[in-house]
């Protein structure tokens, strides 16, 4: 319990650091960022937009420290300012729309990749030198070694453009109205298949190999041999004794992969014109939409921290040894 609180404390500090960094970065730019920024937008933006920009940065009059607290208060209210690219939509709203898609795409591909890779790793170790062990690790390592961009483009070209099995982009078809019905959900999955599929193919090899290798070590340990000697069923020996222990390093890796996947989804979303955070971020950069950029940065950071805390919880539940050293 104490351990969890400690970890929570750590994540709160990290989140606070991210917030603070987010506040100071624009102010560390050479010259006066506000003036520079305003100068750039003056011809294009109306006075309300400029006011919004001002608000976002807390670039109101007053000493830095007052500005900082104004900024914090805004953030805690969920007010991240007004987007320039999508003026006059508030950043929080723009991000909210994108976040759903990113969590859907990145989340499902990470979970799928982890689950499939881990299961195949268990199978490869258990039937050592069987066909799974002979072919799959090599195949997926090779796939993982290709640049992701290339893999995604080939998939898009072959399966989307040439064969026409999958749509070329977006989260759902223009002709379909969103709603909880079979047509819409089916369409969602048809659109998500290529982005998710390519990420899974590209990242599964890592999970597979690490699980396989840890598993081979664990299978040779005394407690697994004892489980076998006790006359337990093979399924119980493999899952409850061997895999349950071999899973621990992978779970740690899962926490770290979360950050990479969220960041990496930028590329996926660009290739498949998928309307998530990454796509938003590119739009933001293209339009010099600083409030949106900062918002995306903040949300990704917070999401990674929150997800890591969940992994901590999971680990605590999986490994009783951490429970005791913790308290």
């Amino acid at each position: 319990m104490l351990y969890l609180l400690k970890r929570l404390g750590f994540y709160l500090i990290a989140a606070f650091a991210a917030l603070t960094l987010n506040f100071f970065l624009p102010r560390l730019m050479p010259g006066d960022p506000a003036t520079a920024l305003f100068a750039r937008f003056r011809g294009r933006l109306g006075p309300e937009a400029l006011e919004a920009l001002r608000e976002t940065f807390g670039l109101t009059e007053g000493p830095l420290i007052t500005q900082y607290f104004t900024y914090l208060a805004h953030v805690f209210r969920g007010d991240l300012g007004i987007s320039i690219a999508y003026f006059p939509a508030p950043v929080s709203e723009v991000i909210g729309n994108g976040l759903v898609w990113t969590v859907f795409i990145a989340g499902s591909s990470l979970v799928l990749s982890f689950a499939l890779g881990t299961l195949l790793g268990i199978a490869a170790a258990w039937w050592r030198r069987g066909w799974i062990d002979t072919w799959l690790p090599a195949t997926f390592t090779l796939l993982g070694a290709f640049p992701y961009f290339w893999l995604a483009m080939v998939a898009l070209y072959l399966l989307g453009f040439t064969l026409g099995w999958f749509p070329l982009g977006h989260a759902y078809g223009d002709d379909i109205s969103p709603g909880w019905n079979a047509t819409f959900i089916g369409d969602l999955f048809r659109h998500a298949a290529l982005p998710i599929g390519t990420v899974v193919l590209g990242t599964m090899g890592g999970w597979l190999l690490s699980m396989r290798n840890t598993m081979i070590g664990v299978l040779g340990s005394d407690f697994v041999n004892l489980a076998r000697a006790k006359g337990l069923s093979p399924a119980r020996v493999v899952l409850r004794y061997a895999a349950r222990n071999a899973l621990l390093p992978s779970v740690t890796g899962f926490g770290m992969a979360l950050g990479f996947v969220l960041g990496g989804s930028l590329l996926t979303e660009v290739v498949f014109s998928y309307p998530g955070q990454g796509y938003l971020f590119v739009q933001a950069v293209r339009n010099q939409d600083y409030p949106l950029m900062q918002g995306v940065f903040l949300v990704i950071t917070l999401a990674v921290l929150a997800a890591n805390w969940c992994v901590d919880l999971l680990y605590l539940w999986l490994d009783p040894r951490t429970r005791d050293t913790a308290s």
Binding site: D222, N225, R228, A229, G231, R236
Partner: protein, 326 residues
């Protein structure tokens, strides 16, 4: 004597390593009767654990049983298929692994590891199973709350006791103890061995007791077998081996212990190094270290020679009265 419980005949086990075959068990024959304690002693690497795991058929992958037979309660263990083995394991033969420290699954509770053993072999009401698990813990002198403990919360001695409780879970006819007390201090060791002895007398199971502590073994066992380089050097009752050891190796070991009640040391006090099993010396494996070796020892491996009823030794000189008396 009654029909033997376990009969190992001409067993041969090899490890297929990258640099060639290592014959860890070479032509070993042993018998064990119901309710008997057979001690096996030998230097590190002489093949004791390999034998134990071969009997239960749980040898790790590079090991192959390349010859011989293991008969248990009249059944040929080497001929059983996987499901027959699974039914027999633990319900008839159980084992306390060497270094029981690492023999418990670190992520599930001790209780769950006892319960899954019980349930793997018989349908049991949850409360019946739980009571049986508690009874087992009590038998080896552990408190009830060990049931919900994890391995890392127990001391070495406690883990060793859990291992013994586990081994007794299904009333086996044979319990293999592979160095059940290494890494424990003498007092705990004595306590555990006395506990096992008492339980053995009460429950009547047979024990294969493996150790490299000769003094302790002679104290605990009915009969003993001395291993050397993957072979049996000498086998006899504990009394016979203690009073009139017939193999020069056994004699050397006993000389290394002036008093049985002295300091329990280890079996490394004979000059020279144990043989490498990858490339064993020709003839008798002990001859390079043997103080009384003759020409024949360098040329041919000695057969098992009966020196007294139930007392045999693999030594060319064992036929003549006492090879060690120079």
């Amino acid at each position: 004597m009654s029909r033997p419980l376990l009969e190992v005949r001409n067993l041969r086990v090899e490890y297929a390593t990258a640099s060639g075959l290592v014959r860890a068990i070479d032509d070993v024959s042993l018998t064990l009767h119901p309710g008997e304690i057979l001690g096996i002693a030998g230097e590190s690497g002489s093949g004791k654990s390999t034998l134990a795991q071969a009997i239960l058929r749980v040898l790790p992958p590079p090991a192959i049983i390349t010859g011989g037979a293991v008969e248990f309660e009249g059944r040929d263990l080497l001929g059983l298929d996987e499901s027959e083995l699974r039914a027999l394991r633990w319900s008839r033969i159980s084992m306390v692994f060497q270094g029981a420290m690492d023999a418990l699954n670190p992520v599930i509770t001790v209780g769950e590891q006892i319960l899954d053993t019980l349930r793997a072999h018989a349908r049991m009401e949850p409360t019946v199973a739980r009571n049986r698990a508690l009874e087992l813990l009590r038998m080896v002198g552990l408190p009830n709350d060990c049931l919900s403990s994890h391995a890392h919360q127990l001391s070495g001695g406690m883990r060793q006791r859990v291992g013994i409780a586990l081994a007794l879970a299904l009333h086996p006819a044979l319990v293999i103890l592979d160095e059940p007390t290494t890494a424990l201090d003498v007092i705990v060791e004595r306590e555990i061995l006395e506990g096992v002895r008492a339980l053995q007398q009460k429950l009547g199971f047979a024990v294969l007791f493996i150790t490299h502590d000769l003094a302790r073994m002679l104290e605990v066992s009915d009969r003993v077998a001395i291993f050397y380089g993957g072979r049996v050097a000498e086998v006899g009752t504990a009394d016979q081996v203690r009073r009139s050891p017939a193999h020069p190796y056994t004699q050397g070991l006993l000389r290394a212990f002036p008093s049985l009640h002295g300091d329990p040391g280890r079996l490394a006090s004979i000059p020279g190094a144990p043989p490498t099993l990858r490339n064993p010396p020709p003839g008798c494996r002990f001859h390079p270290r043997c103080p009384v070796a003759v020409e024949a020892c360098r040329i041919s491996a000695p057969p098992m020679i009966e020196v007294a009823p139930s007392h045999r030794a693999a030594c060319h000189l064992a036929a003549s009265e006492s090879p060690g008396d120079r």
